[in-house]
Structure formats: C-alpha cells, structure tokens
C-alpha cells in the first residue's frame, strides 16, 4: 500500500541520528523501552498466531518426518516423505499444474484489477459508483458457489452461456472435460471471484499518489502513457508487489473451485498440490506425507516471493 517509501525511510528513526530524539538517553535503555512498548501491542496477536498458527506449523513439520495417520501410532521415517514427493509422477504432475495455474491466474487477476482500477480512478467517469460496486460483487460470493454457478452456465447440455454462444456459432464444447481448456476455465473462475478485491487495493494505492506529480508531468508535456509509465507505475510499485505476492500465495493454494468443478480431472489435468495435500491427509490418512508436501509448497512459495520482492525492490529503487 505504501508508495511513500522514500518519505518513510527519511522519517524512520533508523535513519535519524539518535541525538535528534534524545541524545542524552542511553540508547540501550531506549531500545528496551521500545521493545517493551512493541510487546504490548503485539501480545494479543502473537498469542493467537503462536498457538493457532506457529505451533500447528511446528507440529506439522514434526509430522512430516513420520508416517503419522493423525491418530494412533506414528513412526519416525526421516526424509522418506520428502523423497517420495520428488519421485512420485502424480505429485510432479500436480506441481506442474500448480505452476501453470499460478501463471494463468496471477498475472491475469492482477492486470485486470489494475486496468479496472485505473479506469475507475477517473472521478469524471460516468456511473463510477455503480461499476465499482458491481465489479466488487463477485468477491462476496464463495468460491465454491461461484464454481457451481459457472459450471451450470457452461454445462454442455443445459448451460445457458453454452447455448447463447452456440446460437452465435461458437461451440464451447465440454470445457471442464477438455484436457487443454479445463485449467484455464478453473483459473478464470478464481480470477472472476478475486479481481474485485485486488482492484480495491489498487484504488487505494492510486489515491496515495500526489496529484502534483501528475501536474508536473503534464507541465513537462508527458502523454498518458508516459505519465502511467513514469508516475503511476513507480508510485504504485509497493501496492503492486503486495497484490502480486498475495495473489501468488492464493494461486499456489488453489483448491476450492477446482474441487467442485473438475475434481482434478480430466485425468489429472487440473490436479494441484493442495488437492494432493487434501487427498493425502483427509482421504488416505497419510498425514505425514501431506505435511511434507505442505512444507515443500511453503518453501517454493517463499522462494518465489523472495524473487518477486527482489525484482520489485529493484524497480522501487529505480523509481526513487
């Protein structure tokens, strides 16, 4: 959200000489005081996240080295679960599918959200309020319900959208059973459901860009594209990085609508990593393997996020 990183850096105490706040104080005592103050603010969240996120994560990490079923006996198996992940063709297929899904979903959802936010940011646009509300509406519908509605619309026998398109001479066919089209279809439903939320975040980010920057650009004779490229994009890079990371995390955990629409089919073409985690844990009671797979997903997500951060961090510095 923050586009004011330069300002922030300048104002952050880290960039300020300690003397400026209170040079006579012992810096160690000041730091202890700050830590104590911070703790007061952090305690409720830390307690809850510690108990219901961190501890379960540690517990899952331990389970990933066992053959646990979730109940009954469990035995230590070392890295066996991890080894299985990298040799099982079903899992590797799911990994490839998840990557494809992320490639389809993330740029599409983020770009669509950005374009619509740019259009809707114009205060002189007619029906602006209506468009904003309407475009946000899909977000309040659960992904499972959205999946059911879309499945019904494109049903090859009685689907309304299918019928309309075929009246117009376009044969959609049985999209969800098509090995090539099934994945774009399930990714599309997720884009439909989530772009509205990303759009709102972009709208907020756009509002933080000082109008004076555009004025200055205009005075310099910059056209619409130049203003977008040299004012909007750099000033929005923090927001974009934020949206991209969370869209990527969401993409790598794709499950709900795929479970409803294709169940992973046709023959494994929409099987994702989280579907495998679910199947291993809740269907095959192989909680150890499910935990190991979850940690591999975590590691992959972390790696991709770091790459994104580095990339956008660079852009940010260029923008300064």
């Amino acid at each position: 959200m923050s586009t004011t990183i330069n300002k922030k850096n300048l104002q952050s105490p880290r960039y300020r000489a300690p003397a400026a706040i209170g040079g006579r104080r012992n810096p160690a005592i000041g730091q202890r005081r700050k830590n104590f103050q911070a703790l007061g603010f952090l305690v409720p969240a830390l307690l809850i996240l510690g108990a219901f996120t961190a501890w379960p994560m540690i517990s899952a990490l331990r389970l990933s080295f066992t053959d646990a079923s979730g109940f009954g006996k469990e035995e230590w198996v070392g890295f066996e679960n991890y080894a299985r992940i990298f040799t099982d063709p079903v899992i590797l297929n799911a990994v490839a599918n998840t990557a494809l899904y992320a490639l389809l979903f993330t740029p599409t959802a983020v770009a669509l959200a950005l374009v619509l936010a740019l259009l809707l940011n114009d205060p002189r646009l007619p029906f602006r309020g209506f468009f904003r509300t309407a475009l946000f509406l899909p977000f309040i519908i659960s992904l499972a319900v959205a999946a059911i509605a879309w499945t019904y619309l494109i049903d090859p026998q009685v689907g309304l959208l299918n019928y309309w398109l075929s009246s117009a001479g376009i044969r959609l066919g049985n999209v969800l059973q098509d090995p090539i089209l099934a994945m774009p279809a399930v990714a599309f439903v997720a884009v439909w459901k989530s772009f509205g939320f990303y759009m709102v975040i972009f709208l907020a980010g756009l509002q933080e860009i000082p109008g004076s920057l555009y004025e200055a650009a205009r005075v310099d004779g910059a056209g619409a594209w130049t203003r977008f490229r040299h004012v909007t994009m750099p000033m929005l890079s923090n927001t974009t990085a934020f949206v991209l990371i969370f869209a990527l995390i969401a993409a790598l955990q794709a499950f709900d609508q795929i479970y409803v629409m294709t169940g992973g089919g046709p023959y494994g073409h929409t099987e994702t990593v989280v579907m495998q985690i679910y199947s291993a844990g809740f269907r095959k009671l192989d909680v150890g393997f499910a935990s190991a797979l979850s940690y591999v997903l975590l590691a992959a997500t972390l790696l991709l996020s770091v790459i994104q951060f580095v990339f956008f961090g660079k852009r940010e510095r260029e923008g300064e």
Partner: protein, 296 residues
C-alpha cells in the same frame, strides 16, 4: 466514524481542474470506456444473475432445454425447503456471531500488531515480519489437524470460542494494515508525541481514525471469508445448532447426495443476501472512502 473524510480529495480535485474543456476525443474515449465497462460488468454479473433466477425455478425447468435465464414459472418451493429443514434464524445468528466476532477481534488485534510493526523499532522486527508472511504460505489443510487437537484439548469443540479465537488475529490482516500504516505521514503522530501522547494514544487517536478505509477494507475481507467458510465451522461444530448458514446449507442434500440446482442456488442466494446487506451498509465508507479519501 463519520466526519473525518472529505468527500473528495485535493489531488483528484486538482486533477479535475487541469482539464478544462472536454474535447471531442475525450468524450469519445469516455463513451468507449463506459461501453467496455458495461459489457465487462454484464459478463461479470451473469453468474450472480443465474444464481438469483435459478433459485426461483421449479425443478423441471432447471435442466430444461433450451435453457433460459428467467424462470417461465416462478416458484418459492426452493426457499420453502430451506426454511422448513434448517433452523434458519439460529444459523444466521451463529453466522453473524462467528464472522462478526472474528472480524472485530481480527481488526483490533491485527491493527495493534500492525502498529508496532509500522511505528515502533523493536528488536527482531524484520524477522517477525518475515515469519508472519511465511505463515501464510502453508495451506490451512496442513495445520487443520493440530489446530483441532488444540481446540479440542481446550474443550472448545462446539463452542464459539473454537470458531472465533484461532482466527482472532491473522497474518494477512497484520501485513495489510502495516503497509497502510506505513503510508500514513509520520508528521501526524510525531506532533502528538511531542505533545506528550503515549504510543497507545497515537494508535487510538491518530492512526486508527486515519486508517479507517484500510480497516473497513480488511473488515469486509475477513467478514466475507469467514461468512463463506465451509470446512472450518463443519469441523469445529458437530452440533447442528452450532452450525453457520454456510455449513448448514450442506445438510440440504438431495437423493444420492446430489442437491437439486434450484435448492442449491436458493441456498446460495439466502447466504449472499446478508453479506450484500452488510456490504451495502459499509460500501459507501468502504470502496468510496478507500478510493476517494486517499491519504495526504
């Protein structure tokens, strides 16, 4: 919560002033943009329309060919089934307590944590921030069993505590608010600090009121996600009276576990309507305030 935001910002007003006479090209451009947006909106709203209309279709019409959007014969049968078979008021009350409770706590605790991460330079801040983001990267399916065991050991199964407390703070919210707080100018709170305000005062009197757009955005996000959540209430509440509207609707199965589309859509519509109401209630504040106040 009402007086802090001017309806329009200086910058957008300033921008509006710069283009004085709309020339023909820009009018054409605008018409094109509006047309494109209208088409996009129609496509985007089509599934919502199909949900709304199918809810009023009799079973014989749902799978009829050729398909139609609007029912030839309107019926309330699908809704009658929902209201007859489910303890409806109870479920809706539960949904509000669950989603509302999570939202209130999450906003409070997330904003507190976000304040520390945005405004106080404490030891280990960077590490904590990375840990918080990393915790989002593990799918919840992986931690569900340990979370359940903990809630069960605490004796919380079938209580609101099990539904609400594990979600009373969340990593996304903390990170989201932290980003927003960072963008608030430091001059605001430094002035208060010079006047002797404590960090608590700065948080409560300066940061929170000024971050209302972000708080509302996050509030809608958390509320919607929890309202729509299916597996969570199903797992933590085996008692039928403790279920939420979303989880309760799963009990409406048809023969062979297959729910008739009409009933399913009626259920979906019934579940969306309270969300719509909440959304409409906050929407002026929410999208409009996020979009128009900006932060100067």
């Amino acid at each position: 919560m009402s007086t802090t935001f001017p309806p329009q910002t200086l910058n957008s007003a300033a921008r509006a002033r710069t283009t004085k006479r709309p020339d023909r090209r820009s009018v054409l451009n605008k018409a094109l943009v509006v047309t494109l947006l209208a088409i996009a909106t129609a496509v985007i709203l089509l599934p919502i329309a199909i949900i709304a209309f199918t809810a009023f279709k009799p079973a014989t019409e749902v799978n009829a060919f050729p398909p139609t959007l609007i029912p030839a014969q309107w019926t309330l049968d699908n809704f009658a089934r929902i209201f007859q078979e489910l303890p409806f008021l109870r479920l809706i009350a539960n949904s509000f307590i669950f989603a509302g409770g999570v939202t209130l706590f999450a906003l409070l605790f997330d904003s507190l944590a976000a304040y520390a991460l945005a405004r106080i330079d404490f030891t280990g801040k960077r590490f904590l921030l990375i840990a918080i983001i990393a915790s989002l990267m593990i799918p919840f399916q992986a931690t569900l069993v340990p979370v359940y065991q903990l809630a069960s050991d605490l004796g919380w199964v079938n209580t609101f505590a099990a539904l609400i407390v594990p979600r009373a703070a969340d990593a996304f919210g903390i990170f989201f608010l932290r980003q927003f707080f960072l963008s608030l100018p430091r001059d605001l709170d430094n002035a208060a600090r010079i006047d002797g305000a404590s960090e608590w005062r700065v948080y409560w009197n300066i940061i929170l009121p000024n971050a209302m757009p972000a708080i509302l955005t996050l509030g809608v996000f958390v509320f919607v996600n929890n309202w729509n959540d299916l597996l969570w209430p199903l797992i933590f509440t085996t008692d039928k009276d403790m279920g939420t509207l979303t989880s309760g609707l799963t009990l409406l199965t048809g023969p062979g576990g297959i729910v008739p589309y009409g009933v399913m859509m009626a259920g979906a519509l019934v579940a969306i309507l309270p969300l719509m109401a909440v959304f409409m209630f906050v929407q002026r504040r929410f999208i409009e305030s996020v979009a128009t106040t900006g932060l100067k």
